[in-house]
């Protein structure tokens, strides 16, 4: 379908250009949106090109944190010296996503707002509640290797595909949003929704809401982080399960731990139960197992993805073991 194409010179005019339309999309790297235009998954009346917005800088904040502009390319963010030095979990997550050619186009905001790669969502010939509310979910009872084991509903079992967002969830990132009503800040862990009975809504954003930047708070000295991704191919594949882990151990005791999981839910899954179990406990394998078992007690695997439960358990234990070894 044809669309009206508009270039926005600044964030305010981008939001203004997007306001009042039912079918509107912001165009940044295009690596997911243009594919969806071709597949017929979306047919906006208006496309607002935001690639010219002055949001392509990474800025060090006075408190020691980092502000990442929404149109910073994934490749540039992964290569940024401060990200490589202070936030290895984020650099590793970015580098494990997509391919070099795609990372040179894809942006921070676009990566967060990319949509599920559920094969049924992408196939117009099959029912899908996310694509066409009320038509049913073809994945339930179908091919579910890449689907959710946590937080799914009877209406949708899709997973969020981003690696970057999982790292940002573990880093307590804050998302700056400009909307028709002004600016607001959304914690990254609250940006994406669980499917519930409205799986067509991936996030809490309105169509004219524009992500302008993502802030990363500083990590206390001595904190270590890593990203572990398990997938069907060694490269250029989405996660079956991924783990973003942030850990600070003092005198053998867990002082701070943050765990986010990818490939297992409709959103980057912050493993709060596991974190609660682990805080102030000895940093050993027994505690790591107890922690992730507490989280996975709530898992509800589907017929084709029960393997994700032990896979998640082992990936988390191995990630925490590696981080705690670095801190002895």
């Amino acid at each position: 379908m044809p669309f009206d194409y508009r270039r926005a010179p600044d964030p305010e005019s981008a939001v203004a250009a997007a306001t009042g339309w039912a079918g509107v999309a912001f165009l940044a790297g295009g690596t997911n949106l243009v594919d969806h235009l071709k597949l017929g998954l979306t047919s906006p009346e208006v496309l607002v090109d935001i690639t010219g917005l002055p949001l392509d800088e990474v800025e060090e904040l006075p408190d020691g944190g980092l502000r990442i502009g929404a149109t910073v390319r994934n490749a540039d963010l992964a290569a940024h010296p401060v990200v490589r030095r202070d936030y290895p979990v984020l650099a590793r997550a970015l580098l494990s996503g997509a391919s070099g050619q795609i990372r040179n186009l894809a942006t921070t905001g676009g990566n967060l707002l990319q949509r599920t790669r559920c094969v049924y969502f992408q196939d117009l010939t099959t029912p899908c509640n996310k694509r066409e509310p009320g038509t049913g979910c073809s994945a339930i009872g179908g091919y579910t290797r890449h689907h959710a084991i946590l937080g799914a509903s009877a209406h949708c079992v899709a997973t969020h595909p981003s690696d970057m967002a999982v790292a940002m969830a573990a880093l307590d990132a804050q998302v700056a949003v400009l909307g028709t009503g002004g600016r607001r800040v959304v914690p990254l862990v609250e940006l994406h929704r669980l499917p519930g009975d409205e799986p067509h809504r991936d996030t809490v954003l309105a169509p004219s809401d524009l992500i302008t930047s993502v802030d990363l708070p500083p990590l206390p000295p001595g904190t270590r982080s890593l990203y572990r991704k398990v997938r069907d191919r060694a490269s250029f594949a989405f996660a079956l399960v991924s783990v973003a882990a942030v850990l600070r151990v003092e005198d053998g005791v867990v002082e701070d731990v943050r765990i986010a999981l990818g490939g297992v839910a409709h959103k980057p899954w912050r493993a709060r139960r596991a974190e609660d179990v682990l805080r102030r406990e000895p940093a050993d394998e027994e505690a790591f197992r107890r922690a992730i078992d507490a989280e996975l007690a709530g898992a509800a695997p589907l017929e084709g993805n029960g393997f994700k439960v032990p896979l998640t358990r082992n990936a988390v234990v191995s990630a925490l073991r590696e981080l705690s070894r670095e801190q002895r």
Partner: protein
């Protein structure tokens, strides 16, 4: 809706009018006549459409032409200096790094981009030390070239060619 854009393609300035739905790949192939970038999957999965866009390797099948007004595009056909092939192209010939050749223009552009990224010290998913220098091992080449598929399976010699091209 149409849009007027200007591209610099392999050193030549080209003005064209495109439907706003036109991808950069289609604008290059059908609008400009630059047929080195190939349409393989047309969904960002194969890398056959890779070019250097403003100096960086990108796929062109998921980029809208209208959003790249003023861009500088170098395709595999534009890498040579007259009759002198680019060292990466020479290496692909020398190493027999192709069979049917369909993916080769994308492979070559991607390899040129990879070598620039390595020279700039950018790590990859397999780089052990994120803050240290990057050594172009075969594992690094395989990881960095993973966005370019070769259905003939010339991967072994492609890795050789990229390694040689770095010299």
């Amino acid at each position: 809706m149409d849009g007027d854009i200007e591209l610099r393609v392999d050193g030549r300035r080209r003005r064209l009018r495109v439907d706003t739905r036109t991808t950069l790949l289609d604008a290059l192939r059908d609008g400009v006549g630059a047929t080195a970038p190939k349409k393989g999957c047309d969904h960002g999965q194969c890398g056959a459409c890779t070019v250097l866009l403003d100096g960086r390797r990108v796929i062109t099948c998921l980029a809208l032409a209208v959003a790249h007004d003023g861009a500088e595009v170098v395709t595999a056909a534009g890498l040579a200096r007259g009759d002198r092939l680019h060292p990466v192209q020479e290496a692909f010939l020398e190493r027999d790094a192709l069979q049917c050749g369909f993916c080769t223009p994308g492979q070559v552009c991607s390899a040129v981009g990879v070598l620039d990224e390595v020279a700039a010290g950018h790590p990859s998913a397999v780089t052990a030390d994120l803050t240290g220098p990057v050594e172009l091992t075969d594992d690094e080449i395989r990881e960095r070239m993973s966005g370019n598929l070769c259905r003939c399976g010339a991967y072994v010699t492609i890795v050789d060619a990229v390694r040689d091209g770095a010299r």
